[in-house]
């Protein structure tokens, strides 16, 4: 494993075993995250982007289960210790709890749901610090106040004593960012952190995340369905559809040289602030299939303009490189197919 890579996911598979059937929420996902790199995962609802990060953090709830693949994570930077496979650890065990929230931190989508309404902001932040560091309450409080200042919360000392419902949406999201950063994580995972807030506040939060990421040389996984947001923040983009990676590559290649029909169609179908008025938009026909009726073969074939009958609906393409950094899972580029189960 390249020494810059701190997280490497290989062929990750997460299933949900329900009465109605088995949903392959994540089906053979692989990508790497390097130090100081922002990896954006983009996809529509049901594409498995949130389940992917839950699998990394070991917080997939029943009836979901990680059934295959590896999650290699490098705990130390000294180059001596080999990466460990997070799947070998007990989700509730001591080592995983030491990593989760401490080395790998999460910024959730809905700050209102993530913060307790009956505890003050200060108490919740201090708890996060004291869980991982052997410090007194006063020392912990000082760390928290410093972090709150860093994320642009004015009067942090006062704000330690307030409750989440007394804050505005933008401030709550800043509190969540402060809480994620409070232990100095190596890897920050942001799950749609700006979806619930207004555009002007969203621009502030994106600028803040970008600044913090640069200053601390953080590795970050940023999940969103908004292609605009991904273009603004990510270095490297993973495009997912129905649990599979359709295409991945550097952000500039994904936006200016997309290779997968799904990526191109998605990019063409969004109205931009530069597009003309009242022009008909190119669309992707149909809608996203239900996870239980996932099409056989390539999951995108029923909606794909480049569909090859007899091939796309029978075999499943696997990612294969189109350049040294970009890879695509599509029969228009390579014949590589998955062994049928």
């Amino acid at each position: 494993m390249n020494p810059d890579i701190i997280l490497s996911i290989r062929n990750l598979k997460t299933r949900f075993f329900l009465d109605e059937g088995t949903a392959k929420a994540v089906d053979g996902v692989s990508f790497d995250v390097s130090r100081g790199q922002v990896v954006g995962i983009v996809g529509e609802s049901g594409c498995g982007k949130s389940v992917t990060i839950k699998s990394i953090l070991g917080i997939v709830q029943k009836p979901g289960e990680v059934v295959g693949g590896e999650i290699f994570y490098r705990r130390r930077d000294d180059g001596v210790q080999e990466p460990i496979n997070l799947r070998d650890l007990d989700d509730r065990g001591e080592e995983m709890r030491d990593i989760r929230g401490n080395e790998i931190a999460l910024i959730p989508q809905e700050p209102m749901a993530a913060l307790s309404p009956v505890h003050t902001i200060g108490n919740q932040l201090i708890e996060a610090v004291r869980l991982h560091r052997d410090v007194s309450r006063e020392e912990a409080a000082n760390i928290c106040i410093a972090r709150m200042g860093e994320v642009g919360i004015s009067n942090p000392e006062e704000r330690m004593g307030v409750y989440s419902w007394e804050l505005s949406g933008g401030l709550r999201q800043r509190v969540m960012i402060a809480m994620a950063l409070v232990c100095g994580p190596k890897l920050l995972i942001a799950d749609e952190p700006t979806t619930a807030i207004d555009v002007t506040t969203q621009a502030q939060v994106l600028n803040l995340l970008r600044r913090l990421q640069k200053e601390q040389n953080l590795a970050m996984i940023f999940i969103t369905h908004d292609l605009g947001v991904i273009a603004q923040i990510a270095d490297y983009v993973v495009v997912m559809y129905l649990g599979r990676v359709m295409e991945q590559g550097p952000v500039d290649d994904i936006f200016h040289n997309p290779q997968h029909p799904y990526t191109s169609a998605l990019l063409a179908s969004i109205p931009t602030i530069h597009s003309g008025t009242r022009e008909e938009l190119p669309t992707i026909g149909g809608s996203i299939p239900h996870p239980f009726n996932r099409p056989k073969g390539c999951p995108f074939y029923p909606r794909c303009p480049g569909f090859i009958p007899g091939k796309c609906d029978r075999f499943t393409p696997v990612p294969s490189p189109v350049s040294d950094k970009q890879s695509v899972a599509c029969f228009l580029h390579s014949d590589a197919a998955e062994e049928t189960e």
């Binding site: 994106l206 605009g228 991904i230 952000v251 931009t272």
Partner: protein, 340 residues
């Protein structure tokens, strides 16, 4: 524009919500001025966009026009099918009844706006029965079938229940329901923001097609400027219950006259990694409409604010043909819009 006639004119519309004290007496201790002296008109066959961030009063304005709520003040002048103009702002439910079919709504969340216990035939047919007066079930189902075909769904689907449809299909059902009574004004409150990116374009295209076919007039409420630019002929920008700018779409995006409009455009994340440096965030957050700032409501966040802005509320004036803005400094400012 003079050749088109005005379909709806809103004059000085206001909607205040009382803030009550705690305890038994529940005394009124203040007002949330959700919509405050809003005036605009919608021409027949055009699409008027209404944009702003949460709490700016755009949905409240739309609901007052729908008469889903009664405004606190102002006039809503609607030109009926026979050409006569009536003020619907304070009409009683009985007086409104014949007009209900003329103004219909498309809601934001198709998962919340369809009754899960009714099938599609009953959902779309309900207004045909209640307002359209089509008592014969056979006739109703025929009309529902036509409507479903119109929005690109198979007529056989009318026996199904909403849970069998995806988000985009549900929104098509909502559109079919809105069109059932041949409305003249359709109020669309964020019709695509709850949908997946790949189906948003389908719904927008469908709405454009239907507009051309039936000469519909849309009031399009949205927070997404890219969608508004794509869809609307003219745009109203609201901030804290007041209109700050009103202009034809092209003029607004090329040369906005109000600093808030310009800031809003600057905050839109563009789907192009080569345009990263352009995003300039606005400081601070939207203040509470219960306690708006003095003078110009936008002055605490405005990069161009002067002492005058804190003291005096600016007037809403026309600065170019059809281009109105509420700012003291329009003449001095040279604001950036969207550069190509």
């Amino acid at each position: 524009m003079s050749e088109k006639s005005v379909l709806l004119e809103v004059k000085g519309l206001s909607k205040f919500f009382p803030i009550r004290s705690k305890g038994l007496r529940r005394k009124i201790i203040g007002q949330v001025r959700a919509v405050d002296d809003v005036s605009f008109s919608i021409l027949e066959g055009e699409t008027l966009g209404l944009v702003g961030e949460s709490g700016c009063g755009k949905t409240t304005t739309a609901r007052c026009i729908m008469r889903a709520m009664t405004p606190s003040g102002g006039e809503i002048l609607f030109r009926k099918g026979d050409g006569s103009i009536t003020d619907i702002a304070f009409m009683s439910e009985r007086e409104l009844f014949p007009i209900r079919g003329d103004i219909q709504m498309i809601f934001q969340d198709p998962y919340a706006s369809l009754n899960p216990r009714m099938n599609i035939l009953d959902i779309i047919g309900e207004s045909l029965l209640v307002i359209g007066g089509i008592k014969d079930r056979e006739k109703r189902s025929q009309r529902v079938g036509e409507l479903l075909e119109l929005v690109g769904l198979r007529p056989e689907y009318m026996q199904r229940f909403p849970h069998a449809f995806s988000g985009g299909q549900r929104q098509r059902v909502v559109i079919a329901r809105a069109l059932a009574l041949n409305p003249r004004l359709v109020v669309a409150d964020e019709p695509v923001s709850a949908l997946d990116v790949s189906v948003q374009a389908q719904v927008l295209n469908l709405m454009l097609k239907l507009q051309d076919e039936f000469n519909l007039t849309y009031l399009f409420v949205a927070h997404d400027l890219s969608v508004v630019k794509h869809f609307c002929d003219r745009v109203v920008v609201m901030y804290l219950g007041k209109i700050v700018e009103l202009a034809p779409t092209e003029a607004l995006f090329q040369a906005p006259k109000h600093p808030y409009t310009s800031a809003l455009m600057g905050a839109v994340p563009e789907a192009d990694p080569r345009r990263r440096a352009d995003m300039v965030p606005l400081e601070g957050e939207v203040p509470s409409p219960a306690n708006p700032p003095s003078g110009c409501h936008f002055h605490p966040r405005c990069p161009h604010a002067t002492d005058l802005c804190a003291k005096e509320a600016p007037a809403f004036e026309e600065h170019a043909p059809g281009h109105f803005a509420r700012c003291h400094h329009v003449a001095e400012l040279n604001l950036s819009g969207v550069q190509d």
